[in-house]
Homo-oligomer: 411 residues x 2
């Protein structure tokens, strides 16, 4: 792991670059997310520090008009809460001009957990709404550089993760899922080179907080996450089209990579990537940290059984309820710090039901045990649906998604 | 260009690492070679500083016994003067165990010059003597990162350079010549990753003198020159054999790359590369600098006409002769600072003739004009032979040498 970086602020060609997160209490980097606040990261401060924009309701309204259906619940509820240049993507979509989606995953544990699922569920919804190609980068190289896992072992982990991602419901005719160590090729490398050339060692250090004891590979890696922002990295999909921009749905801790990429893009005569950022799914233990595979007890994994899900939520899910039933009836619970309620915000699609649960919990009418039961039901359903699809996903599917072939789009 | 590095000494896992050259007066890095001494770099000091070994006559004798013919003149005359682990390669050859040759070229000017020719002429001789595969890396990516030349323009320059290299007489059934931007592939990238992981930013800075204002790409590049030392970068040639070591003939300014590689190799469970290092061909103006394409007047290019060669040597070649004919007859000339004599040392194969020229010039019997005439004749012959072969080299040959295919060797 990277040593915890010193907070550094630097202006690079117009995009605000910050190594650390919202303030001294909040740390948000691609490697660490933590806060001392029970309600979690202060996302408004983070927006101001990172220099991205709050996703205001006018943009959501515009998006709904464009796709002629309601926005995804995670959008309506502000769980995807910030963006860069989303309006430009909507402009393109209104003019029926092409764009593509790009997101990714660093394979670090045997099974994805609920937190990993957020960007993929939302990306699937975006892809269906706009009918555009999706690129999914599996950064097995990053995990090799940051962790002590051999490349072949990472290959197995990555394949399992890819199966989990496929289970979200993607279509190999519209989606390219590749591991960096398997896709690496001249088109991809040439864009890596172009990014490498225009970002200095000092800039990378300011953005990512690298220190001299870090490996050369860590300092080289950011360009490898940047390169898929450019359509020319995928000639099998985009032919010789140079300026098809991408929209990246991801958690906001990835912003440093894309701030860097957005600074580099104009110098490479490429379109800047647009971004839409999610908040973090809280750990079972509460919003001071995100759900993280490195802490098994903080997570619900996609391969947990219904019983495991029930037990984990009952045992670990931080409660916003009062100490005694009597007190709870009198004072009501606090949804904003309650992990079970936060899970419902992410996964319960019915707005009315969610509002009702909030009202009942905050009024003291609903007890913590009942709220947990609601969360258990919905999490079991989400994971159950995924597991049912996961059973049908084969090694051949992993190969097919990674096959270097045209997708069902012409440009 | 990289800012001129501060001299730094550091011990990394046993190989002595030095950013700069022999002493304060001598600068030897992959990017700069200069000295204030008229007799050129002090190579004995450089050996001590870099921590490589002098190539002593016992090794040459052993090599001659092994190949059953005399050593190449450049070996006999100490122009290939230093090595790392050459004895280990001779051990393997004696046991009929495999090794391969690896060398490279950074494409930076339209035509190679005489200085570039040295490692390739010597490599060709080694390849013929041992009948082993040869890998030639064309670092178009390096030149892209260090110079302001677009990738497509570098592609053209590289193709011209590859034709020059092919003209030395290589056989595409035994030799793989590839551009990094065209060969980049998973096998190659995986070795780059492995090197990246075990070298820190601090170590790279100490070895190469990188500064914060340098691009990320510069600090990433050394692993890309290191990776071809490992047979697993070329599965089409070596199959799944992991530990076929390489011998690298090159000029000693490339030592920093291979010191780094030799430190990394055991941690990757790979064989260390062995090296055989040449001195620098002096510039026409004398041995204070090497022949360098960036200074047109310092060079004789492989596409110079016989007349251009004659005029350049007559006009620019630094003379070790005396100011007047009378003085020269009385005092004699100084071969050690005379560029024409140095060219003869590299290219005149007849030892007796070379000794006679030295004797006659130093005794004052031969005048500078006569010495220049000898140099002109031999350089015209070397370049004339090359140009005759160059005429027959086609674009298809460049493609054939770069084709990812097995070579005529089994392992």
């Amino acid at each position: 792991m990277t040593a915890e970086p010193e907070p550094v602020e630097e202006q690079i060609n117009g995009e605000t670059a910050v190594a650390n997160g919202a303030d001294d209490a909040d740390v948000v980097t691609p490697w660490t997310v933590k806060t001392s606040s029970a309600t979690g990261i202060d996302y408004d401060k983070l927006i101001a520090k990172f220099g991205c924009r709050k996703l205001e309701s006018d943009l959501i309204t515009r998006l709904e008009a464009l796709i002629e259906k309601p926005a995804h619940p995670m959008l309506r509820r502000g769980l995807f809460f910030a963006h860069r240049d989303l309006a430009r993507i909507l402009d393109l979509a209104e003019k029926k001009k092409p764009f593509f989606l790009y997101t990714g995953r660093g394979p670090s544990s045997g099974s994805l957990h609920l937190g990993h699922l957020i960007p993929f569920m939302f990306t699937k919804w975006l892809q269906d709404a706009f009918d555009v190609p999706l690129i999914v980068q599996i950064t097995d190289d990053e995990k090799f550089l940051w962790r002590d896992i051999p490349l072949d072992k990472l290959g197995e982990i990555a394949n399992g993760n890819i199966k989990d991602i496929i289970s979200v419901g993607f279509d190999p005719r519209k989606t390219f899922i590749f591991k960096n160590t398997e896709y690496m090729c001249p088109a991809f490398y040439n864009n890596i080179l172009k990014v490498w050339k225009v970002v200095t060692i000092n800039q990378a250090r300011a953005i990512f907080g690298f220190v001299g004891e870090d490996s050369m590979g860590k300092s080289a890696f950011p360009a490898i996450e940047a390169a898929p922002c450019f359509a020319t990295s995928f000639p099998h999909i985009f032919g010789n089209k140079k300026n098809i921009p991408c929209l990246i749905p991801c958690a906001i801790d990835q912003d440093p990579y894309f701030r860097m990429t957005r600074d580099a893009a104009p110098r490479l005569k490429y379109e800047k990537p647009a971004l839409i950022y999610s908040t973090f799914l809280p750990a079972l233990q509460g919003a001071q940290s995100k759900m993280a595979g490195s802490d098994q007890n903080s997570c619900i994994f996609l391969n947990d059984t219904p019983n495991q899900i029930k037990n984990k939520i009952n045992k670990y899910a931080f409660s916003g309820g009062q100490a005694t039933t009597e007190e709870h009836r009198r004072l009501g619970g606090n949804c904003d710090v309650d992990s079970s309620f936060q899970f419902l915000r992410f996964f319960e699609e019915d707005d009315d039901k969610l509002a009702e649960i909030r009202q009942r919990y905050e009024s003291g009418d609903m007890l913590s045990g009942e709220l947990k039961k609601e969360a258990i039901t919905i999490v079991q359903r989400v994971i159950g649906d995924l597991q049912a699809r996961r059973k049908t996903v084969t090694d051949a599917d992993v190969v097919e998604f990674a096959r270097v072939k045209p997708l069902d789009f012409t440009f």
